[in-house]
C-alpha cells in the first residue's frame, strides 16, 4: 500500500494504491488523521487503485469516518473498482461513505 495526499479547494484527497487490508489498516487511519489535523475540511479517499478490500480495510475507513466526525467534517470514498464497491455494498457500509 502506498499513500499520497493532495489538498484541493478545501478538501483533502487521499490516494490509496494497493490492497486495503489488515497490513494497511493502521497506515491508512494515520494518513486520514494527519489530513484532519488542525484543519476543518472534508476528506475524500480515492479507491481507484485499490484492487482488494477486506473487513480490516472497511474498519480502517470506519475509523477514518469516526475521526472525521470528531472534527465535524465528512469522509467519503470515490472511484471504487467494481469488486471493492461490491464489498462495500454487501457489508452495508457504502451509504456511510457517500456511495449511492
Amino acid at each position: 500500500m502506498t499513500l499520497a495526499r493532495d489538498d484541493v479547494g478545501g478538501v483533502a484527497e487521499i490516494y490509496l494504491d494497493g490492497d486495503l487490508d489488515m497490513q494497511a489498516e493502521e497506515r491508512v487511519v494515520a494518513e486520514i488523521e494527519a489530513a484532519l489535523d488542525g484543519l476543518q475540511r472534508d476528506v475524500v479517499v480515492d479507491l481507484s487503485a485499490v484492487p482488494f478490500l477486506d473487513s480490516s480495510g472497511i474498519r480502517a475507513l470506519l475509523r477514518g469516518r469516526e475521526a472525521a466526525q470528531r472534527h465535524g467534517v465528512r469522509l467519503c470514498v470515490r472511484n471504487p473498482r467494481r469488486i471493492v464497491e461490491d464489498v462495500l455494498r454487501i457489508t452495508g457500509v457504502a451509504p456511510l461513505f457517500g456511495l449511492r
Binding site: S55, R59, L62, R65, E66, T91, G92
Partner: protein, 399 residues
C-alpha cells in the same frame, strides 16, 4: 450365540449410571471398561478430534492409536451414524456415539470369539450403551481436561480456546429439523462463531464474523454473543438483539470494531423464516437440489455500526435447506488464486445431500473440501451452518 445375554444390558447400564456419579473425565473409560468386562465385552471409547479427521482413544496415553475417519470401519460408523459389525477375531461392533445428535465418536465393542456382532439383541444393547456413554462424556467434559485433551491433535490458541467454550454443540435436531455447523481452522479460530437455540417451536440462530484475526477478533465476537444471548433471553426480537449488540460493541470498543452477522428465527411448524443480514454474505435457500435465491433482504450495517434493523421474510417448503457461511469459505484460494466460490459450495451441499448423508457429515466434508482446495488450514476463519427442514434429515441424524 448372543453375547452378552440380552438380559445383561439393563444391569450394565444401571451400574454405569451409579458409578458415573463419582468419576471425572479421566475416570470414565475405566468404569466403562470394568462394567462391560463383567458381561464379557471389551469396550474402547474413540472420540472424534476437533478437525473431525481421526478418532482418538479416550485415555491418558498421548501415544494412543488414532484411526482415520475416511479409511476405516470405525470411520464409516462415525460418518453414516449406522452401526458397523465386523467379523474377525475378536468380532467387533462399531457403534456411533452421539449426545442428542452431536457426533462425539465411536464405541468399539469387542465380543467373545464366535459371537455374532450383528445379532439384533447385541446391536440394540450396544446402541443403549453408546447412548448412555454419549451423555456421560458430555456431562463429564467440563469437570476436567482429560476429554478436552483427548480430542485435540495439537494445542489451541487462546482465542480458539475462548471461542469454543462459547459455542453450542455442532449439531442439533428436532423430529423435523436439523442444523449442523463447522468452524475452521479449529485450533486457531478467531472471530467466527455460530449460535442457536430451539425453544417452543422456534429455532433462533446466527452466524458471526468479527473483524480482524486472533484474540482481538474473538473478543469482539464474544461480546456480540454475550449481548445477543442476554437480550434474547430478556425477550428481545431480532431488531432488539441487533440493537443490544450494537450497544455492547460501541460501549466496549472505541476503535470501530464490528461483527458481521446473519440473525434469524424460524417457525418450525409454519416454515416461516425471518432474518436480518448485518453486513454479512447472504445465506442461500436451496430447494429440490437447486438454488432458489440468496436471502439478501433485511440488510443493514455490521453489528457495532449502529443502524436501523430491517427484517426480511421467507416461506420455506418441507425439504428446503438454508446454507449460512462466512467469507472464509467462499474466498478460500488455491495456489493458482482460484476462489472456492459459492457455486462449488452449493454444488457440494447438493451432491452430499443426494448421498443420504447426515447433515453434520455434509458440512464436515465441505469444510475438508475447502481445506483441500487451499492446500492447508484456512487462512481466514471459515464457518458453515446448514439447516434442513425435513423429517428425513432428522431421521438420518441419530444412530
Amino acid at each position: 450365540m448372543t453375547v452378552p445375554r440380552p438380559d445383561a444390558w439393563p444391569g450394565l447400564l444401571a451400574e454405569l449410571i451409579e458409578n458415573g456419579h463419582f468419576v471425572g473425565p479421566s475416570g470414565l473409560a475405566a468404569i466403562v471398561e470394568a462394567a462391560t468386562a463383567r458381561v464379557g465385552l471389551g469396550v474402547t471409547i474413540h472420540l472424534i478430534d476437533h478437525e473431525q479427521e481421526r478418532l482418538r482413544v479416550l485415555s491418558s496415553d498421548p501415544a494412543a492409536e488414532t484411526i482415520p475417519v475416511h479409511a476405516s470401519v470405525a470411520g464409516r460408523a462415525f460418518m453414516t451414524l449406522i452401526p458397523v459389525p465386523s467379523v474377525g477375531d475378536p468380532p467387533r461392533l462399531w457403534m456411533p456415539v452421539v449426545n442428542g445428535t452431536e457426533r462425539i465418536g465411536v464405541l468399539e465393542v469387542r465380543l467373545p470369539p464366535g459371537a455374532d456382532p450383528a445379532a439384533p439383541g447385541t446391536v440394540s444393547g450396544a446402541r443403549l450403551l453408546a447412548g448412555l456413554i454419549g451423555h456421560l462424556i458430555t456431562s463429564k467434559t467440563s469437570y476436567g481436561d482429560a476429554i478436552a485433551k483427548a480430542r485435540r491433535s495439537r494445542p489451541m490458541t487462546p482465542a480458539a480456546e475462548l471461542l469454543w467454550q462459547l459455542l453450542p454443540p455442532l449439531t442439533f435436531a428436532t423430529d423435523h429439523f436439523v442444523l449442523a455447523a463447522v468452524l475452521e481452522p479449529c485450533y486457531e479460530v478467531g472471530g467466527d462463531a455460530f449460535d442457536y437455540t430451539v425453544d417452543d417451536g422456534f429455532a433462533r440462530f446466527a452466524v458471526y464474523d468479527g473483524v480482524g484475526k486472533g484474540l482481538p477478533a474473538a473478543l469482539a465476537t464474544a461480546v456480540a454473543l454475550g449481548a445477543s444471548r442476554a437480550s434474547r433471553r430478556a425477550g428481545a426480537d431480532l431488531p432488539g438483539v441487533a440493537e443490544a449488540v450494537d450497544g455492547a460493541l460501541t460501549s466496549q470498543f472505541t476503535d470501530s470494531r464490528f461483527v458481521t452477522a446473519v440473525l434469524a428465527e424460524f417457525d418450525l411448524h409454519a416454515g416461516h423464516l425471518r432474518y436480518t443480514g448485518a453486513g454479512h454474505p447472504p445465506p442461500v435457500l436451496l430447494r429440490h437440489g437447486k438454488v432458489v435465491r440468496a436471502l439478501a433482504g433485511g440488510r443493514r450495517t455490521p453489528l457495532g455500526v449502529p443502524a436501523p434493523t430491517p427484517v426480511a421474510d421467507e416461506r420455506l417448503e418441507p425439504g428446503d435447506r438454508i446454507l449460512f457461511y462466512t467469507d472464509g469459505i467462499t474466498e478460500a484460494r488455491d495456489e493458482a488464486g482460484t476462489l472456492f466460490g459459492l457455486e462449488r459450495l452449493v454444488d457440494l451441499v447438493e451432491r452430499h445431500a443426494e448421498d443420504g448423508l447426515p447433515v453434520a457429515e455434509t458440512v464436515r466434508r465441505i469444510s475438508h473440501a475447502v481445506r483441500d482446495h487451499q492446500g492447508g488450514p484456512p487462512a481466514d476463519d471459515a464457518t458453515l451452518l446448514l439447516l434442513e427442514w425435513s423429517e428425513d434429515a432428522a431421521h438420518r441424524s441419530a444412530p
